[in-house]
Amino acid sequence: MAPGRRTAAFERKAPLLEAKEVQVTIGGEEILESASLDLRRGELLAIVGPNGAGKSTFARAFCGLRRPQGGEVRWMGVPLTELRGRKLAGVRAYVPQRAQVPTGVTVQAAVNIGRSTHLKPLQGLSGEDREAVRESIARARLEGFEDRDLSTLSGGEMQRVQIAVALAQGAPVLVADEPTAQLDLGATAAISKMLRELVSGGMGVVLIVHDLALAAAIADRVVVMSHGRTIATGTPEAVLTGQLISEVWGVQAELVHREGRSALHVEWLDQHQT
């Protein structure tokens, strides 16, 4: 996944992404007070936190989908404010939480649209672009689905199409907002494996995720958010302690994680109430 010719100004040694004290105000209300993270090459970073903690807002802000009111974001050393259009599309791909599923669009056509960032206006796909599209479809395990209409796909298949569209962009970083939120166990595992493969291939992945057990199993590091702030960053074992879970989610729980298997042992009902 070479960054390509348009990334000359980027620093090779800088972290893929650095966000410092990012602040977002929506309609006079401070949704994001101060959020920071950094992403290295070949790393899967999970952002976890309760509903309304500001995870999606943070991701949208550092991806350039929403203008932050304060703080600093750099992609490979270049300030986000200097990145626009094709250049921005060349550093990160963003996979939204809910896909818009138009009828009358095939998987192939959708992934072709993802590749369009490499084209000049009115220019068609080159042989190289077609190859990149084919590879994106293969990496998202969508071979054989090329001619299917998007409206006929299952939730898991549609999520893989979203990822294929993002991969076709050819950016070194993939940011995905809850890609497994509405998926069953098998589809969740399939997406998780796919994301790990991308990381093994050298990409950086930022994953917003609710499921702490899943985050612990697949992430290299986790960032915990609460009330519009990032409050802890580190390996899942170091950060997702019973005490932190109790403080942030208000639930007594213990994370069990060994040999690639993980589970969250939760005290669902307070003992004295039952």
């Binding site: 626009r84 818009q100 009358g104 959708a110 649209i113 369009s116 009115l122 962009q169």
Partner: protein, 318 residues
């Protein structure tokens, strides 16, 4: 679709109050020697009208396709951004208020069509939450209501001049204006078509959702505004030439999507241009031959031809 357009164009040139053999039509176009009367009829009367039908049909087809893509709403047509009502008012202002300056009609229709669209964009796109689709559509409906009311006011103030206005309001092409109208209006059409061509890819991105478009480095709000602006230019220019034929803008993109089985704008926008041109040219040929020598306005014929085709496809699709 291209074949249908060529056939419709040939028929449009050959048929009319005087029937001219197809061979003579082709010879005239190629500059060969033909009887002087036929040449006169084709060059002075029919060719401008056929060309008008083609560009107006293409403009409305593209305008509808752009708007439906930009607003992600299958009900969008030049009506919803106020263009039709604005152009109608502009035309009535000239026809009813100062019928002597009828030459100004196309310019007035164009200007008021664009003014109405500008008002809709101003309300719909600016301020906090600007660019919200529901807001654009509601602003469009309100502005359209405003201009329709003004038009109704003019119509009731000058009841004796209303018959002149009917032709414009139902939409129709005429042979009497020769190339004049086209000569004034073509730059607006050209700009509209060029912008629309550049919006094909952005609209494709928007089809996958605002967030995907943003991930691909586009700005959804800017895409909406630019595509809607192209549609406003095309629809206003079309109204300036042929009156109010908004039905074409609504139906053509649907016809094209149903026939092609795809929503990709790479297909929908160019084919909408061809289909709009073909349908309007065919309908206009029917309109001026069916009760010859009386020429009927094309608007109702368009609906008569278009609705059954549309309904048939609609049933077949589901």
């Amino acid at each position: 679709m291209l074949l249908a357009l060529v056939a419709a164009a040939c028929a449009s040139l050959a048929y009319g109050a005087v029937h001219i053999p197809l061979g003579e039509v082709i010879d005239t176009l190629l500059g060969q020697k033909v009887p002087e009367a036929s040449r006169q009829i084709i060059e002075v009367l029919r060719l401008p009208r056929t060309v008008e039908a083609i560009v107006v049909g293409a403009a409305l087809g593209v305008a509808g396709a752009c708007l439906q893509g930009a607003l992600n709403n299958p009900l969008a047509s030049p009506d919803v951004i106020g263009v039709t009502a604005g152009a109608g008012f502009g035309a009535m202002l000239v026809l009813l208020f100062s019928p002597a300056s009828v030459a100004l009609l196309p310019i007035s229709a164009l200007a008021f069509g664009l003014i109405a669209a500008a008002m809709v964009f101003l309300i719909g796109f600016t301020g906090r939450g600007g660019g919200n689709i529901t807001r654009i559509i509601l602003a469009g409906i309100a502005i359209a209501a405003l201009f329709s009311a003004a038009t109704a006011g003019l119509l009731s103030a000058y009841p004796d001049r209303v018959p002149n206005a009917v032709f414009f309001l139902v939409g129709g092409l005429t042979s009497s204006d020769g190339w004049d109208t086209l000569e004034t209006i073509w730059p607006y059409l050209a700009v509209g078509f060029v912008i629309a061509a550049f919006m094909i890819r952005p609209l494709d991105r928007l089809m996958l959702g605002d967030d995907v478009a943003a991930s691909l480095g586009s700005r959804p709000r800017l895409i909406r505004l630019t595509a809607a602006f192209a549609a406003a230019l095309l629809a206003s220019a079309a109204a300036a030439i042929a009156g109010l034929l908004a039905f074409l803008g609504l139906v053509i993109p649907h016809l094209v999507r149903l026939l092609g089985g795809t929503r990709n704008h790479t297909f929908v926008i160019p084919v909408s241009a061809l289909a709009g041109a073909a349908l309007l040219t065919a309908a206009d040929t029917v309109a001026r031959t069916i009760a010859a020598p009386i020429e009927m306005p094309v608007g109702p014929f368009l609906v008569v031809l278009g609705v059954p085709l549309f309904l048939w496809l609609l049933r077949k699709a589901v």
